[in-house]
Amino acid sequence: MDRLAITPPEALAPAIGHLAVVGLSVAYRGVPVLSDVTWSAPASGLTAIVGPNGAGKSTLIKAILGLVPSTGRVTIGGRSVDAMRDATAYVPQRATVDWDFPATALDVVLQGMVREPGWFRGYGRARRERALALLDRVGLADLASRQIGQMSGGQQQRVFLARGLARNAAILFLDEPLAGVDAASERIILDVFDTLDRDGRLVVCVHHDLGTVSERFADVLVLNKTVIAAGPVALAFTPQNLARAYGVPLTV
């Protein structure tokens, strides 16, 4: 892939192959957070990761992306994640950053292109326009020059989504993108998901709301420190599997 080329937001997802996790374990100070996670992700489409609090959902995303120390193997198309870095995009939880930071919505979206221009250079006009187009896509074109701390939670979440989109990645990992957002933001985010789905990208999304899994996602990974079940929602998202993950009977 040509690093210097400025890809339009709607560029097609390159065929990069399949995401596979084999025997992934994470421990924090000797306490296991994830143990022996083996998961073969679908080629594309929308996948939800669900599980109780402390199940290691966010940690799984971070471990896949190499952001926390882990043992085991993660490959994309048979190659290491480090080698396939530009096939991935990460949209972290909103609460992980300080929104008082002196930056505008446009500044944050541009961060998704941070490695494109190279050292010494600024982002340049073409990338600014691309970032503006991405803000438009999440319904925030009017707020491009607003300080990020002066936006609502839902708007901040959409800025983060636009920054993730700016990486033009084939696989997007999102950590609770729908947590605590208003109805308008939720509609826009789900709309973007549908576009990503149609583009043939893979969206892996930590999701907290079990009630909406079936209508919004095609695949699911039910997690509680290890894989309880994975596969198409119709097969894997069953009351039995959820009861095993949550430890209590649940109806969905």
């Binding site: 972290p92 930071f101 002196p102 930056a103 961060q111 990486r167």
Partner: protein
């Protein structure tokens, strides 16, 4: 006027150069809530410089800067090791390492007898701006302007070099540093070489601290890293504006502080002058306090 060029010009120039270098790196340290780390680093460079000078017997710019850099990397490596391997709380690790380094530096100063030559411990702490005199600018001098430039104290060239290096490092990685300060996890997930960037920022900070401590002192270095950037932070919501504003505030406090040192005591009928690094540092603190107070009211 001749007196200004001989007595006041070089101290003002030296204080301005080091204030600018410190204020610029301060912006990034403030945003990542690492003002205390800057404080620690400014003390931790002292033993590096002292040991480097004691071993080589030279006190040229390169020796001084290399010594400071080495100590800065050793100290931050030790802090990281204590946090990771010893599970020491970060604030404690920082406090332990920098006091130990600073104390060791003072011991070496005493042992080697360097403290009796050019490295007075008071100057290390509070600076010795008043000692920077531009001899050949005296009115009876016959030296031409360019020739007399060569007579400027070595520290001026050292500080100018450091300012250029610091500004170059910050400019080269400006968008990377901004992302690293805002969201280091996303930076790593995007494939930025986070470790290298951290090392570059540490280098810039250590250079600014090292250059500062010989002439303007550790106190002024800390004040200039923290105060102008923190003041600018209150006044704007754009990072580029904050950087520019912090530079302007740094310069303004240098001139105001220096004037206070020279003229302040005369207002009270004293012929003495105050320590300029002290008044500049106090001025920077006052500017921050006043800005915060105005904002709290408005």
């Amino acid at each position: 006027m001749a007196e200004f060029w001989i007595v006041d010009f070089v101290p003002l120039l030296a204080a301005s150069l080091s204030a600018l270098a410190c204020a610029l790196v301060g912006n990034l340290l403030i945003l990542t809530r690492r003002a205390m780390a800057a404080d620690a680093l400014s003390h931790a460079v002292v033993p590096g410089v002292v040991v480097a000078v004691a071993i080589t017997g030279l006190s040229g710019s390169i020796v001084v800067l290399a010594g400071g850099l080495a100590a800065a990397f050793a100290a931050s490596g030790l802090v990281a090791f204590l946090i990771r391997a010893g599970r020491v709380e970060p604030g404690t690790a920082l406090g332990v390492v920098f006091t130990t380094f600073f104390a060791f530096g003072i011991l070496v100063l005493e042992w080697t007898g360097l403290s009796r030559t050019g490295f007075d411990i008071h100057h290390v702490v509070t600076g010795y701006l008043e000692g920077l005199i531009w001899v050949s600018r005296d009115p009876g001098g016959t030296a031409g302007f360019f020739q007399s430039l060569m007579d400027l104290p070595q520290v001026v060239f050292e500080l100018a070099l450091v300012l250029v290096l610091v500004a170059a490092i910050l400019a080269a990685f400006r968008k990377e540093f901004a992302l690293l300060a805002f969201d280091p996890v996303f930076a790593r997930a995007s494939g930025l070489p986070v470790g290298l960037l951290e090392a570059a920022l540490l280098t810039a900070t250590a250079l600014a601290c090292t250059a500062a401590f010989k002439s303007v002192g550790v106190v002024l270095a800390v004040a200039m890293i923290v105060c102008p950037a923190a003041t600018a932070r209150l006044l704007t919501t754009r990072l580029s504006h904050q950087m520019a504003l912090s530079a302007a505030i740094a310069l303004a406090t240098v001139f105001a502080g220096y004037a206070a040192a020279v003229f302040g005591p005369r207002l009270f009928g004293s012929a003495l002058a105050l320590n300029a690094a002290g008044t500049i540092g106090a001025m920077a603190g006052l500017a921050l306090a006043a800005t915060a107070a105005l904002r709290a009211r408005g």
